[in-house]
Symmetry: D4
Subunit: 163 residues, 8 copies
C-alpha cells in the first residue's frame, strides 16, 4: 500500500518519539514510511526525500527533531504539503526545539504539536487525511470514542472505590 | 458557496489576527465563516457552533485566542475535524496562550502556529484542504512561488543597490 | 453526608495530587467527592458532572490538571461556584499548566494555587466554606496552629542541638 | 453597611488595578474597604489592619502587589480568611509578582488570579461570599449572563457584517 | 561568644543549604546562631527573633527559603541590619524563590546570592563584618587565597597530565 | 571627605541607574566616588581603579551593568570588600544581566539587588557601613521611618477619600 | 576587491541589523557582499548563493534572522566555512531566534552573537580573518583601543564633572 | 608542535565538556593546550595565560564555564584573537551561563555555541583556522562527510528494517 504519511527523524536518537507516532498510525491502519535525514548534515538528502515523497503522493509529512530543530521547516521548504512538527526534549525542556519549529514566518507554517507528542502528530495527520477519506475519518472518531470511554470507565471505578 | 473553514475568535478584541487569516483565504478564494464564541463565557455557543459547523461540512477549524487560550482545545473537544490554534499576544508575550494551546494531551492535538500568526493559520488550512482539492493545492503552490519571487527580487535590488 | 467539595481530575495519572487534597479534607472532616473527567476527551461528562454537582449543592470545585490544563476553566464555564485550579507538573516544570489555569480572562477567574499543591487547594476550599461555617472555620484555625507549633518545635530543637 | 471585602494595595502606584476590582464590586453592590499598607515598609500596619479587619467581619481579603509581591502572603499570615492575590506587572512582565504570590507553601494558600486582573479578583471574592449569600450568588450569575450575552451579540453582528 | 550573624531557615527541609553557610562560618571562626521560623506559619516568631537578634547585636541576617520565598523580605521589614537572601531550588529550578527575594521594592533591599548558595551567603556576611573587623577581613583574604591556590594547583596538574 | 563607597558603571549609558544610587547616598550624606570602566574594553582600568579604591579605604563597591554584566564579578575578583551588583535592563527585560551577576560561583559572591534598582543598592551599602557606624545606621533607620510614614499617610488619605 | 565576508539576510525587514555589521566592516575596510535569501521561501537560492560564495572564496558567512531563525543553520549545511549567526528580536524578545540559532547539534556549529548584535558579528568575522591577515588583525586591535579610549575618556570626564 | 588552540576551563569540574572538545581536536589532529583558570578566583592567572598564549601564537581560545560564566568574556578582554564560549549546564538548565556568555556588548563578541557543546566548539575553532590552513579545512570537510555518511547509513538501515 502506498504510504500517505512520511515520518522524518532528524536523528536516530529520537526514535522513541517516532514510535509513539507509528503505534497510532498502525492502530489507525494508515500506511507510512520512516526516514532519517538531518537538515544540517544531509540537506540534500532531506530535499531529495521530500521531493520524491511529494511526487509519490505523500499527503502529510511529520518532522521530529530536538535542539535547533530545523528539520520540519526544511521539509516545508521543499513541499507544498502540510508538515507537522514534533519538538523533542533534548535540552532546555524542549523549549529550544519548540521555538525553532513553531515560530515559522509567513508563508511557511508548521502544524506544531506539544513537546515529545509523536502520538498527537499521528492523530493530526489522520485528521488531515480524514478530510476526504471517510474510512480514516471514521477510525479517528472511533479512536476518540475509545479514549473517551476509558475516562468514563476510570471515573466510574474511582467513584466506586471511594463510595 | 459553502464555507470549508470556520474561524472562531475567543474575543472580538482579537479581530486583527482573524483579519490576517481572512486576507489570505480571500486571496486563495477559499470560502470561510467567522464566529465569535468564548470557551469560558459561552461554552454552549462554542459547542453548538462547532457541532453545526461539523455537520454542515466544515473541513478545518481555526481557533484564535489569548491568555489562558482554551478555545482551540474546546473546539477540538467537539469535532473530529482538524483544529488550528493561533496563540494571541495579550500578556506574557503570548507565551501563556502558546502553552495553553500547544501542550494538548493525547489524543487531542491542536495544529498550533506561531504567536499572532493568523496568516500562517490560513495557509495551513489551505494545505489541509489541498490534500484532496487540486485547485486549492495549486493556489497554495502559486502563493508560495509569489513570495519566493519577492525574496528573489529583493535580493536582486539589494545587490544592485550596493554594487 | 452531602459533599461540599468536588475534586475533578483531568486524568487518572494525576491521582497523587488529588490524594494530597483528600488527606487534608479528611483531616478537616469536610465531605467531598472525587471524579475523573477530561475537558478534551469527555467535555459532556465534565458539563454533566459540574451541573449536577452545582445543583446538588457543591460549594467549591477543585480542578487538577497538567499540560494544556483546561479542566479548571471548563468547570468554571458551567458553574457560578468558585473553582480552585491546581497546575500539575507533567512537562515544562508545570509552567504550561500554570499559564493555562491562571491567565483566565474576565469574568471567569480560577483561584489558582502553586504547582502540584493539592494540599493548599484543600485548605483554600475549607477557607471558602469557613466563611459561613464556624465549625470548619475553627478547624482551619486549629490546623494552622498545629503547623505553626511544628515550626516553633523545630526551632527549639535546632537551637538546643546547636547550643 | 459593613464591608465584607478588604482590598489592600502594597503601593499607591497600583491603584489602577484596585479600581478594576472596585468597579466590579460596586456593580455587584458588595461593600468593601480599601487600604494601602506595605509588607516591607509597614509590616505592623499590615498586621494591625488585617487583624482588625478579621475581627470586624471581613470575609475575603484581596492583596494587590508587584515585584517581590509579599503582601498577599503577609495578609494570609495574619488571618484565617481566604486571601486573593493579584500580581501586578511592574517588571519582568509580572512574572516576578506571580511567582511571589502563587508558589506559597503548605498550609498558606493564596487564591491567585491572572496578572493585573483586579476584575477577576472581585468576581472570585463575590463567588466566595455567594456560597452562603444567595443574593450575591444571584448577582454573580446575572453578571456572567450579561457577559455571555455580549459575546452572543458580538457573534451575531459579526456574522451579519460578513454575510 | 556573642553571635554576629543569625541564619534563619524558612523550613527545616532547607537545612542542607544552611549547612553550607555554617561550614564556611565555622572555618572563618565567626559565631552565628541558627533559627527556624516561617514567614507564613509563624510571622510573630520571625518578628520576635529578628527584633531580639537586632537588639542583641546581630550584625547580619541570612534568610534561606524556597518557593514564594518571603522570609528574607520579612526579616528586612523588622531590622535595619543588612539581610542576605538565599533562594532555594524547591520548584521551578529556584526561579520562583529568586524572583521573590531579589525583586524587593525601594527601600527594602535584600543582598541576594545565587540559587542554593549558602556558601556564598557566608562569605558575603563575613565581608560585611570585615569592613570594621580587621581579623575577619584578613580571614576572608586568606580564604580567597586558598581557593585561588586550588585553581592554580589544578591548572598545574592538568598541564602536567597532558604534557 | 574620603569616599566610603565607589560606584562603577560599565557604560556611560547606564548613568540613570547610578543617579538613583547617588540621590540616596546624598540624602544619607555618605561620600562616594563615581567611575566608568568596562570589564571588557578596559579590564586593566577596572583592576587599577578597584585596587586603588581598596587601598584608599573604599568599604563597599557598587557595580552597575547590563547585558552579559561581568563588571560586578570583575570588581569582586580584585577586592576582598563586599560588592553590590545592579543588573540593568538593556535587553531580555534585564534577565541576562541578572543571571550574569547573581549566579556567581563560590567563593565570589555579589550582593545582587533587583533589576535597575540603583536606589536599593545605595540603601544596602549604607546598611553595610552602618554595622560599625552608628550615625549612618541611624540615618538608615530614619529614612526607613520616613518611607513608612509615607505609606501610612497614603493609607489615611485613601481611607478618607473613600469614606 | 573580492569580498571575504557574505552577509545574508533572511528578510529585507532585518536590514537595520545588517547595517550595523556593514558600518563596522566599512570601518575595518573589509570587503563584503550582501544578499537576501529566505531559508523557507527560497531554499534553493540560499544553497546556490552559499555554494557560489564558498567557491568564490568567501571566508566567513554572517546569517541574520528572526523568529524560527533557520537561515544560519541552512548556510552552515552548504559550506564548510565558519558561519556567524545573529538572532533578531522580532517576537519573544528574540529568544525564539536565539534558541533556533545557538542550539545547533554536532557537528554543525554556528558562532552565535547576542540578540540584534550585527556590530559584534562584524568584529568576530574580522577576528577570524585576522588569524592569517595581519593587516586586518591590526585594525581589530586599533578598533579595540579606540573603544577602550572612549571608556577611559568618559571616566575622566565623569570624575572631573563630580569633583 | 605549537598549539593553535587554547582551551581554558573555569573549573576542574567542567572537564567532561572540555573532553568533548579535545576528542574532536585529536581527531582533526590540531594541537591544543588545556588550562584551568577562574575569572573570579584567579583573574591574574587568566590574564597571564591569555597574554602568553596570544604572544605564543594561539589562534583561537575556547572558554568553558557555567553559572555566571565570565571566563570567555575575560579571555576576550585580554586578546584580540577570536574566543569561543561554551555555556555549561550547572544550574538553570545552563540559561544563566548562556546569558552570561552570549549577551556581550560591542565590541567584545564571543562566538557562542550551544549549552554543553564542547564538540561544536572544536569544529568551530577548526573552521576558523581552516580559513588559511587548507589541510585543516580539508579535515573539517572530511569530518562533515563522515557524519553525513552516518545519517545516510542510518536512513538506509531504518528503511530496510521497516520494509
Amino acid at each position: 500500500m502506498t504510504p500517505k504519511i512520511m515520518i522524518i527523524l532528524g536523528s536516530g536518537s529520537d526514535i522513541a518519539i517516532a514510535e509513539k507516532a507509528m503505534d497510532i498510525l498502525d492502530k489507525l491502519e494508515i500506511p507510512y514510511s520512516l526516514k532519517i535525514a538531518s537538515a544540517h548534515r544531509t540537506p540534500n538528502l532531506v530535499r531529495e526525500i521530500v521531493k520524491q515523497g511529494t511526487d509519490a503522493g505523500i499527503e502529510v509529512f511529520i518532522g521530529i527533531a530536538g535542539l535547533a530543530a530545523h528539520l520540519p521547516g526544511t521539509i516545508a521548504a521543499y513541499t507544498p504539503r502540510p508538515v507537522i512538527g514534533v519538538p523533542v526534549d533534548v535540552k532546555s525542556a524542549g523549549m529550544d526545539a519548540l521555538d525553532s519549529i513553531i515560530q515559522m514566518p509567513y508563508p511557511s507554517p508548521i502544524a506544531t504539536v506539544g513537546i515529545d507528542r509523536g502520538d498527537n502528530a499521528a492523530i493530526l495527520a489522520a485528521q488531515f487525511i480524514g478530510i476526504h477519506n471517510d474510512e480514516i475519518h471514521q477510525r479517528v472518531i472511533n479512536l476518540r470514542k475509545e479514549y473517551a470511554r476509558k475516562v468514563i470507565d476510570s471515573n466510574e471505578s474511582i467513584v466506586q472505590a471511594i463510595d
